[in-house]
Amino acid sequence: MLEVKDLHVTVEGSEILKGLTLTINAGEVHAIMGPNGAGKSTLSAVIAGKDGYEVTQGSITFEGQDVLEMEIEERARAGLLLGFQYPVEIPGVKNIYLLKAALNAKREAEGLGEIPAPEFMKLIKEKVASMKMDTSFLQRAVNEGFSGGEKKRNEILQMLVLEPRLAMLDEIDSGLDIDAMKVVADGVNSLRAEDRAILLVTHYQRLLDYIVPDRVHVLVDGRIVKSGDAALALELESRGYDWVQEESAA
């Protein structure tokens, strides 16, 4: 589904990713872990198309399409969705506007018409309830004045409505208390499907107690230095990152 090959990315003149290679297949959940500054967030930002990241070498392909050639919104419509570590507050833009505009943009790209209003209402109410949010959220401005936990729930709510092919979640666990993390994890788990992949970017192992990954990758200094199954995350939890760094340097 997603193939990243030998990716080199420079931000403001310094190289952050230094030859990253990663393959994700449909139905899989991958976790990328690593110490601060390893380039974890850079990878998802580049895939989503954020400004200021220069790809100097390598490629990103999503279902055979060259991602780097696609506009930001085309990536989203193709099913590549990024859940932000720090969701932006957008004063004045109601959640319901965002959800409806986003869903219709996706449907249009798929050759479907606009979603009929009653169907849309039914859909979002159901998804809002599943994230244990109140429908009043829909009339509130996107993320404005939301607590950290509410912002993260809102990111997952968007995923549930938009049903991406590949959901990338950047530090979705940061700033969450245990109850909020369970709600978020339940939301992510409900996204698991045969034809969908999930990429979790995280610093801590605790999220992976709730969302058990198929593959775990350790990102150190711009490269994936070790990959394994869920057991690797536990090992990182008890031993830290240093041994991986030493092992890879050796």
């Binding site: 919104e73 932006v88 004045g92 506007y97 965002l98 409806k100």
Partner: protein, 449 residues
């Protein structure tokens, strides 16, 4: 006398010749207005207050006075705000009883057309009319005084709370001959009375008339008025309004000045905070497109200590539209412990749109809390990116953010019917490339559930 001025004074002479007998005081005031207008002429751009606003479209016009208030009830109904209200309707300045609703006025409320009040030589009129907005204020105020004969008079007895809003509706007709009207609005609210007034300017799409309003609002101790001015006249209409508010101790005035229509619009809004605890709030939104020119001049006089003013104006300008904002706050020498906040933010959607914004603070007291800021700019690019990562194309993202920019003023609007009307109007005015159709309706539908 210049030709411009003569055209208007000739119309006035015709009108005066046709009048029946009247109390002498009103004739004398009209005369004073005419004399002052003749002496001042129309303002030119060398005058600081009119530096950015060219009124030649008015001065060079030849406007008749309407002689009837005919308007098809069906098309009037389509323009009228769908809200339960006490209502006075004027068509090109002429009172339209058939389109008004003055039954069921609660006790303590006097609401009538100015013509009726003048006929009775009503006590509510003689004293205050012209006390706040004198003929010296501007040549438009003088011109209005010279022609004054119609408008709305609202008077509330002490402690009267009017539940339903009071709608003052001004309809503008399209026709071969452009017309002018010089409405006066006089509102006197006695102690602790409360009301909501919605002033609504709207009309036929091709209307190209000139409206020259003077409004005088007197709030006695503890009175509270919420005043919406929704101006969505045709894009050819010319609109000038001078609004003066006098506030006694502990009174509250909240203005929501929403300017969507008009070819040339000039509002002067002045609040005199004369008693401790008086609070005034100016909220404004203007949207200019095509070659619209929208000028808002506001002034708050903190004449007493412990008074508060908060002002927030937002402008959106597209095409070759031109916006002007001038917000002045004057704090008198003994007006300690006052609070004054002012902000004006503008969004330019086109390279050829223009805004001239100028905050002016004059502070002669030393223990005050004042803040002001003016910004003009573009949209938050991080928000544009965030929306695009959800699949919205760039133009729709920008459209939504533009609507959101206006929305911040709409949050101050407590009447859903006004807020939705303006939101739909703004969404409808945004360039088609923004592709917002259907979005706003969704939120309105959710609200209604």
């Amino acid at each position: 006398m210049s030709e411009d001025v003569k055209t208007f004074l000739d119309r006035l002479a015709e009108r005066n010749a046709a009048r029946g007998p009247e109390p002498t005081w009103i004739a004398a005031r009209r005369q004073a207005g005419a004399a002052r207008f003749e002496a001042m002429g129309f303002p030119h751009r060398r005058v600081e207050e009119w530096k950015y606003t060219d009124v030649r479209a008015i001065a060079r016009g030849d406007f008749a006075l309407a002689s009837d208030a005919e308007f098809s009830p069906a098309s009037a109904a389509a323009l009228t705000l769908p809200i339960e209200a006490h209502r006075l309707t004027f068509v090109d300045g002429v009172f339209a009883p058939a389109l008004s609703r003055l039954d069921e006025l609660p006790e303590g409320v006097a609401l009538m057309p100015l013509s009726a009040a003048l006929e009775e030589n009503h006590e509510a009129v003689g004293g205050p009319l012209g006390r706040l907005t004198g003929v010296e204020f501007s040549s438009f105020a003088a011109l209005n005084t010279a022609f004054m004969e119609e408008g709305a008079v609202l008077r509330l007895a002490p402690g009267t709370v009017v539940e339903k809003p009071i709608v003052l509706q001004f309809l503008s007709r399209a026709g071969e001959q452009a017309v002018m009207s010089h409405p006066r609005i006089l509102i006197q609210m006695a102690g602790r009375s409360e009301a909501t007034v919605i002033e609504h300017h709207v009309g036929q799409e091709e209307a190209a008339n000139f409206t020259n309003l003077v409004e005088e609002i007197i709030l006695e101790r503890g009175a509270m008025l919420t005043h919406y001015k929704l101006q969505e006249a045709s894009l050819k209409d010319l609109h000038v309004a001078s609004i003066h508010v006098e506030q006694a101790r502990d009174s509250r005035y909240a203005s929501c000045n929403l300017n969507l229509g008009g070819a040339l619009v000039r509002n002067d809004l002045v609040a005199e905070l004369n008693g401790q605890g008086a609070e005034t709030q100016f909220n404004g939104l203007f949207y200019g497109q095509g070659r619209q020119h929208v000028d808002n001049h506001t002034l708050v006089n903190h004449n007493a200590p412990h008074t508060v003013s908060r002002e927030n104006y937002k402008g959106i300008l597209d095409d070759r539209a031109h916006g002007v904002f001038n917000g002045k706050v004057i704090v008198k020498r003994d007006s300690q412990k006052i609070e004054a906040e002012q902000s004006n933010a503008n969004l330019l959607l086109s390279d050829r749109a223009e805004i001239d914004t100028k905050p002016e603070l004059e502070i002669y007291a030393d223990d005050v809390k004042c803040a002001h800021g003016a910004t003009t700019g573009q949209l938050d690019e991080e928000a544009v990116f965030a929306l695009r990562t959800r699949g919205l194309d760039e133009q729709t993202a920008r459209g939504l953010l533009t609507l959101a920019f206006a929305g911040e003023v709409m949050e101050q609007v407590n009447l859903d019917v006004v807020a939705e009307r303006v939101e739909l109007a703004v969404a409808g005015k945004l360039p088609e490339r923004f592709n917002l159709a259907g979005l706003v309706e969704a939120a309105v539908a959710l609200n209604e559930e």
